[in-house]
């Protein structure tokens, strides 16, 4: 099934007699949705781009690469730095903007500028009953009615099938540099990253790789400004060592490339940074990567549900790659699970959209 238009899609959903598995570029294989594939790749194309207003609107099936190319021609970008899952998950295909929104995919810059959902200005979607619905729009400040834009971001298609999304974009800053500290254990690294992120020097990436023994700090901006802030950040980091300036592949950090060729389950854990080292100590993971100043842990583990080892912690763990018997998402507290179930029932009364993926 490959709809060409919103009306097509609405008819298709209305007429569906079983569950539908929604697919953008097919690059994220995690989760256990069942049903016939609903291929969104035909609903593609940038519908509006106003660089002077920092706004882009595109159909959900638009390849991310097409959007990046258009933005790059105007020295702009999607600032939330969406990750590319292909290497990590061993998938092929072309990541789409709608898929990125459905999973609220954000990269290292999330710590400073916000997540995918923070840049999303508007959505159009078709719900599980075939209703065509719009929310938000293409302006940066909009509090007109409830914010379904945020609700749809990260809903993994379980509330509706996205057809069009609009974004705030930002200037693509001219220069980037990375300061690197070595010799820090996990707790020291998180302290160092907290110090950097608490400084006014606008660190746009703070990641720690224990195996490589590198704690990395990214600065971006105009040339002189980057040089100035790099100099100041050296002072901030002085208690932790003398950093060196090093060419760094932040796309590799974003995509957790180091786990790509290593077997095992891959978990993505969101916590407050200062809780991270103790949590990692409990995991018994084969390897970990810290991003977001310690607030995001990527863990490579053996089979099984890591959550049993984590116990009752403040945050959530998502199984990004691994065995099918383990739930993908962190089970919610009962009252929240009831609200979420209530919302799904309203938006998808027949439970046909990505059935079994989230709950």
């Amino acid at each position: 099934m490959k709809p060409n238009s919103e009306q097509d899609l609405a008819q298709l959903i209305t007429g569906a007699d079983g569950p539908l598995r929604i697919q953008g570029g097919g690059t994220r294989s995690y989760g256990h949705a069942t049903g016939d594939v609903l291929d969104m790749s035909a609903m593609s194309g940038i519908t509006l781009y106003e660089p002077g207003a920092l706004t882009i609107v595109a159909k959900a099936g638009t390849p991310l690469s097409e959007i990046n190319a258009a933005l790059s021609a105007e020295n702009q970008r999607l600032a939330f730095e969406p990750m590319d899952h292909r290497a990590l998950l061993g998938t092929t295909g072309e990541p789409t903007i709608g898929g990125g929104v459905a999973a609220n995919v954000s990269g290292p810059r999330r710590i400073s500028v916000g997540a995918c959902r923070d840049f999303l200005l508007g959505v159009r979607f078709v719900d599980g009953a075939g209703n065509i619905i719009k929310n938000g729009g293409r302006v940066m400040k909009n509090v007109t009615g409830y914010d379904l834009v945020k609700l749809l971001a990260g809903s993994y298609g379980t509330l509706g099938v996205l057809t069009e999304v609009s974004f705030k974009v930002l200037p693509d800053l001219a220069r980037q540099t990375t300061l690197v500290l070595t010799g820090l254990d996990d707790a020291q690294a998180v302290h160092a990253m907290s110090a950097a992120l608490s400084s006014p020097y606008e660190v746009t990436g703070a990641a720690h790789d224990p195996a490589a023994d590198k704690t990395r700090f990214r600065l971006e901006g105009f040339v002189d400004s980057v040089a100035y802030r790099a100099k100041e950040l050296v002072h901030v980091l002085a208690p932790f060592g003398i950093p060196s300036e090093e060419e760094t592949d932040w796309a590799a950090i974003r995509d957790v490339s180091v786990f790509a060729d290593q077997p095992g389950n891959v978990w993505r854990i969101s916590v407050k940074p200062s809780d991270a080292p103790a949590l990692v100590a409990r995991m018994g993971a084969k390897a970990v990567q810290y991003d977001w100043g310690g607030g995001l842990i990527w863990a490579l583990t053996d089979d099984g549900d890591l959550r049993a080892k984590l116990g009752d912690f403040k945050g959530h763990a998502t199984l990004i790659r691994g065995d099918v018997d383990t739930p993908t998402f962190q089970p919610e507290a009962a009252p929240l699970a009831a609200i979420s179930a209530g919302l799904r029932k309203k938006f998808d009364p027949r439970n046909i959209l990505n059935r079994g993926l989230m709950a």
Binding site: A115, V139, K141, V143, K150, K272, M358
Partner: protein, 477 residues
């Protein structure tokens, strides 16, 4: 503005309701005397007033839960209230409602600098959140102009913005977690101190839901390190078109100012007469502010001044000192007061795509002549959030209605050019009946379905946000 008729059964049970509320709250936390409930008869949309059945001022989450449980059991409507600064009537009571004010809940619960967040009770004012962390070099970014008075509870309800959101975002982009009491008294925790709460983004839905889904009693928000410094530049132009082009060119050049403020001639004239900030008399004035170290500010301002100079400014003035910076902001910050000196005014809040600025300003000028009501424009140009101030005389019969009709036409224009009805004030009762201009029935149905899940009996602030005709069946059920 029409409000639904009060529920006679609720009115007749007032004594019973009050006595049950008194049983779960301290003596001074239930206000039922008719003279005293008048204090809660309106918010900052003062044209509409109605004293509530009673008002309660709980001190903590448990007391809020006890109140809501009783109201839920007895079928009593509840109107949550922060500081009552809503310009949209978000906290306007109905005669059969209990006002639930969070004013007593203003404590800081936790401050955490390594993880960069603060957890507060939501009655705390916006400015005093920053006040709790600023000596340690941090601040809370959203800065609505009522920040001295407005409460975090109201900020969350309306997803408040401010002058600096081009860089820092609005409330929803800075909110990490909440403790919320549902209408039936259930206490829920959503999110926490970590980023991107798991499951469906319920936090995102609650923020901006205008107190219709639950009462948020505690909030965890991000705090940011204070920038080293900030400095504005002022520029004046002979036409709105040119000023609009300057805004676009600055943004396209890759600079991201923290604020770009715009004032038109009527507003410049009013503020000059009032505040004497030394503004040039011209058609359009821009204030652009950037942040960073002195050297960084110099570099960014040099680029901005270069762009500004290309468009033949009437005046181009860079602040060289804190005093000069304060003078540049003086007029802008007095704009609302200055307009208020001339007459009563109504403040609108539509957002438009920045590219439509010149056209929209021209149309507003034409409509102003047609309606015979003056209008001044002052707004956040970087994000297209307009604040037209329509002048009218509240003592002149029919003037308020004329002003409302003019306002509605401006908001319809905002939607027509690709924008929206409200950028940061919220819908409340003010824009409730205009929602059908922006949204089709399935769009509104989807939003109301969310309220069905959180508040099936439609008891929480139910006569707001949605056109009364659209929500009638649900409210009556």
């Amino acid at each position: 503005m029409e409000m639904p008729a009060p529920n006679a059964s609720v009115l007749s049970r007032k004594d019973q309701i009050v006595s049950r509320l008194r049983a779960v709250l301290p003596d001074n936390a239930v206000i039922s005397d008719e003279a005293e409930t008048r204090a809660y008869e309106c918010d900052a949309l003062t044209a509409y007033r109605c004293p509530p059945l009673c008002a309660v001022l709980p001190s903590n989450t448990q007391e809020v839960a006890a109140v809501l449980k009783i109201c839920h059991e007895m079928g009593v409507p509840v109107v949550p209230r922060g500081s009552g600064t809503s310009l949209a009537g978000g906290a306007l009571p109905t005669a059969d409602s209990v006002i639930l004010g969070v004013a007593k809940m203003s404590a800081v619960i936790e401050t955490n600098y390594p993880d960069r967040y603060i957890k507060v009770q939501t009655g705390r004012t916006n400015l005093s959140v920053t006040g709790a962390v600023e000596t340690d070099g941090f601040f809370y970014a959203p800065d609505p102009s009522s920040q001295l008075a407005c409460a975090i509870a109201g900020n969350i309800a309306m997803n408040s913005g401010g002058a600096h959101c081009l860089k820092y975002g609005v409330t929803t982009n800075n909110l990490l977690g909440v403790t919320m009491v549902m209408m039936d008294g259930t206490i829920v925790e959503i999110g926490g101190a970590h980023l991107d709460a798991g499951g469906l983004d319920l936090l995102g839905v609650i923020c901006g839901s205008e107190g219709q889904l639950g009462v948020v009693t505690e909030a965890t928000v991000r705090i940011l390190p204070k920038p080293e410094g900030a400095r504005p530049v002022l520029m004046g132009y002979d036409s709105n078109e040119v000023a609009g082009q300057v805004v676009t060119d600055i943004i396209k050049a890759g600079v991201l100012p923290v604020a770009i403020e715009f004032m038109d001639r009527p507003c410049i004239e009013a503020t000059e007469a009032f505040a004497k900030a030394g503004y040039p008399m011209c058609e359009a004035l821009l204030i652009v502010e950037v942040e960073g170290s002195d050297a960084e500010i110099d570099a960014q301002l040099a680029l901005i001044m270069e762009i500004a100079a290309k468009h033949n400014p009437v005046e181009l003035r860079e602040a060289k000192s804190a005093d000069e910076a304060a003078r540049i902001w003086l007029g802008r910050k007095s704009a609302f007061g200055a307009m208020g000196q001339i007459n009563d005014y109504m403040c609108l809040d539509g957002t438009i795509p920045v590219s439509q600025l010149p056209y929209v300003l021209r149309r507003i000028g034409e409509m102003s002549a047609e309606y015979g009501l003056g209008v001044g424009n002052v707004f956040h140009a970087g994000d297209g959030n307009m604040h037209p101030l329509i002048l009218f005389d509240a003592n002149k019969p029919g003037d308020l209605e004329l002003c409302e009709a003019f306002g509605a036409d401006i908001l319809k224009l905002c939607v027509e050019v690709g924008g929206c009805l409200t950028g940061e004030h919220g819908v409340g009762i003010e824009k409730r009946d205009l929602m059908t201009v922006q949204y089709d029935p399935p769009d509104l149905e989807a939003q109301m379905a969310i309220k069905d899940v959180f508040d099936p009996a439609w008891l929480l602030n139910a006569a707001k946000v949605f056109p009364l005709a659209s929500s009638e069946a649900r409210r009556a059920a």
